[in-house]
């Protein structure tokens, strides 16, 4: 068994976002371990629960969010990249003084620092990047 991590920097409109999803599914179904999926750059939009979920253009967001919630994949979203793009959990929204706003982070995703990326890099046998 090998440990596999994915780095997803492809935004929802890029083919890489769906290719990453299919790769995550394949790894999860195999005998290998999906150690972490790390969302960075434009890839953090895939974790925005307020994205339009019925639009055909939002299929990548919808499918990622459905599978992360159902399968409990280790889905880590860089907090710095997420906050820049208006994506936060309840705690970060409160910290930013937006107490009236609930978080926009979809279920199952976790906001983390870049140290988690380095951990994925050093602990995984293979890291695959989808940009």
């Amino acid at each position: 068994m090998i440990k596999v991590s994915l780095l997803v920097t492809a935004g929802p409109q890029r083919p890489g976002a769906l290719t990453a999803l299919h790769t995550a599914q394949a790894v999860a179904r195999s005998s290998h371990q999906l150690y972490r999926v790390f969302f960075y750059g434009e890839g953090v939009h895939l974790a925005n629960r307020l994205a339009c979920r019925d639009d055909a253009l939002c299929v990548a967001q919808r499918d990622w969010q459905t599978l992360v919630a159902e399968q409990r994949w280790p889905a880590a979203v860089c907090v710095g990249a997420a906050l820049k793009r208006g994506i936060s959990d309840d705690a970060e929204a409160r910290r930013a003084g937006l107490s009236a706003v609930s978080g926009t982070l979809a279920e199952g995703f976790t906001l983390v620092g870049l140290g988690d990326w380095v951990d994925a890099l050093t602990q995984s046998d293979r890291v695959v990047h989808f940009g």
């Binding site: 780095l7 960075y40 750059g41 710095g80 890099l121 940009g131």
Partner: protein
């Protein structure tokens, strides 16, 4: 497990979050002891050469022991700390890096 990481940098400083996010990712890896290499492509090099603060931007990388390289023919004059390499040397670096990230 990655012991060397090659970033191929396509995004120039000053246009969106791309450059800053690439630098942050590279610096974090380097700070945790990952051997980090940055290959700057022609577009970021051209923008860097025009910026008055290019010395500061590049010093941030070298301060963490990040080696910066570029294709010799892409490298403008006056950018300190970036090694110009020929295609064969760049190919070797790419082959020897255990992980490659294109941002």
């Amino acid at each position: 497990m990655a012991d060397s990481l090659l970033f191929v940098v396509r995004q120039p400083p000053g246009r969106g979050a791309g450059w800053r996010e690439t630098i942050d990712m590279a610096l974090t890896g380097a700070a945790f002891g990952v051997d980090t290499l940055m290959w700057l492509e022609a577009t970021p090099l051209k923008v860097l050469a025009r910026r008055a603060d290019h010395g500061q931007l590049l010093a941030e990388l070298s301060g963490f022991g990040i080696r910066c390289v570029a294709r010799q023919e892409d490298l403008p004059a006056g950018l300190p700390g970036i090694e110009g390499l020929d295609s064969a040397a760049l190919h070797t670096l790419r082959r020897h890096a255990s992980q490659m990230v294109i941002l």
